[in-house]
Amino acid sequence: MTDAAYSTGALPAIEPVSIPLKALLPWAIFAGLVFVLAIYFVGVEEGALSLISGTSVHEFVHDGRHLLGFPCH
C-alpha cells in the first residue's frame, strides 16, 4: 500500500504539485514572524520576557495562557 491509496478514485490520482521554496520563503519569513509574535504576546509577554513594561498584557490574557498550556506564575 502506498500513499496513492489515499487518493483513489475512478481517475488515476494526479500527483500533488509542490509549491516552489523560492515562492514560499518570503511568506514563511514575514507572515511567520507576525504569527510567532502574536503567539508570543498570548503565551510569553510579561512572563519570561517583556517587551512592554507593566503586566497588563499578561493579566489580560492570563486565563488563556494557563488553559493553552503556557507556563505562568
Binding site: 500500500m1 475512478a10 504539485v17 498570548v42 493579566e59 490574557v61 494557563h66 488553559l67 506564575h73
Partner: protein, 272 residues
C-alpha cells in the same frame, strides 16, 4: 496561491478558536476559579511560606518573600485586570489570537508539505499535519511539562520553565520532521505502511530520550487538589484537541480547491 492558503489558514484558526474558547469558558474557567480560590486561601494562611515546598531539580533558589506569583501578578481585588475581564474578554482575545496565529502557521506548514509528503492530497495531508501539531503542542508537553492552573508554579522559575517548554516544543517539531523524512526514505524499500511504523517507532524513542534528558519540573503545592489538577489538565488537552481537529479538517476542506483538487473531484464525479 500561498496568500490564498494563508487566508484559509487564518479562517480555519478563527473557527477553531471559537470552539477552543467555548471549551475554555465552559469547562476551564470553573477550574481556574477554584485554583485561584486555593491560591488566595493559602496566601492568606501563610503569606510567606506558600510554594516553598516545591521540588524542581535545578533553577530557582529559595528566595525570601517568595510568593506564588511574580511581582505585580495578582488575581484578587487589587488585580490590574478584573477577574471578569480575564475570564471573559481576555480569555476570548487570548484564545482567538493564539488560534488564528497557529492557523496561519499551519497554512505555511501545509504549503511547504503539500507535494513533498508522499502523494497525499490536501485533506488527508491537513489532517495528518494537525495530528502532528496536536502531538507537538499537546501530547508531548502533557507528558513532560503539563499545563498548570493558577497556584501551581513558582513565579521565580517562570523564565526557566518557559525555556524548557519551548526547547521541548522545538525538539518535538524537529523530530516529527525527521520522522516524516525517514518514512519517505524507507517507503520505497519497506512499503508505505511499514515505513510509517518504523518512522513512528523511531519518533517515540527519540522523544522519549529528549523528555528523559530534560529536567523535571514539579511545583504542585502538597495540599493542592489532585482532582482539580486532573480536571484542569484534561480541559487544557480538550481545548488543544478541539483546536487542532477543527484546524486540520476545516483547513483541508478549504485548501483542496486552492491547490486544484476540485477539478479532479469534479472530473471524478463525471467519469466515475
Amino acid at each position: 496561491m500561498i496568500a490564498q492558503l494563508l487566508a484559509r489558514g487564518l479562517i480555519a484558526g478563527l473557527v477553531a478558536g471559537l470552539l477552543a474558547f467555548g471549551i475554555a469558558r465552559v469547562f476551564g474557567e470553573p477550574q481556574v476559579n477554584l485554583a485561584i480560590a486555593f491560591e488566595e486561601a493559602s496566601e492568606a494562611a501563610a503569606p510567606h511560606e506558600h510554594a516553598h515546598d516545591h521540588d524542581h531539580v535545578a533553577g530557582a533558589q529559595e528566595t525570601e518573600g517568595q510568593s506564588a506569583a511574580p511581582a505585580g501578578h495578582s488575581h484578587g481585588e487589587e488585580a490590574l485586570v478584573s477577574r471578569d475581564t480575564q475570564a471573559g474578554l481576555g480569555l476570548f482575545v487570548g484564545v482567538m489570537v493564539y488560534a488564528t496565529a497557529v492557523g496561519g502557521l499551519f497554512a505555511l506548514a501545509f504549503a511547504f508539505c503539500y507535494g513533498r509528503v508522499g502523494a497525499l492530497s490536501a485533506r488527508p495531508l491537513a489532517a495528518l499535519l494537525a495530528l502532528g501539531a496536536f502531538i507537538a503542542f499537546c501530547v508531548v508537553p502533557a507528558i513532560k511539562y503539563p499545563p498548570n492552573p493558577p497556584a501551581v508554579g513558582v513565579g521565580e522559575t517562570i523564565a526557566w520553565r518557559t525555556e524548557l517548554h519551548f526547547i521541548l516544543l522545538f525538539f518535538t517539531l524537529v523530530l516529527i520532521g525527521l520522522a516524516a523524512w525517514l518514512r519517505g526514505r524507507l517507503a520505497a524499500s519497506l512499503g508505505g505502511w511499514n515505513a510509517g511504523i518504523v518512522a513512528v517507532a523511531a519518533l517515540v524513542v527519540a522523544i522519549g530520550i529528549v523528555t528523559a534528558l530534560l529536567p523535571a519540573v514539579n511545583e504542585v503545592p502538597d495540599d493542592f487538589s489532585a482532582t482539580l489538577l486532573w480536571r484542569f489538565r484534561m480541559t487544557a488537552m480538550g481545548i488543544q484537541l478541539g483546536l487542532w481537529s477543527v484546524i486540520g479538517l476545516v483547513f483541508g476542506a478549504l485548501a483542496a480547491p486552492v491547490v486544484g483538487e476540485r477539478r479532479r473531484a469534479a472530473a471524478r464525479a463525471v467519469f466515475g
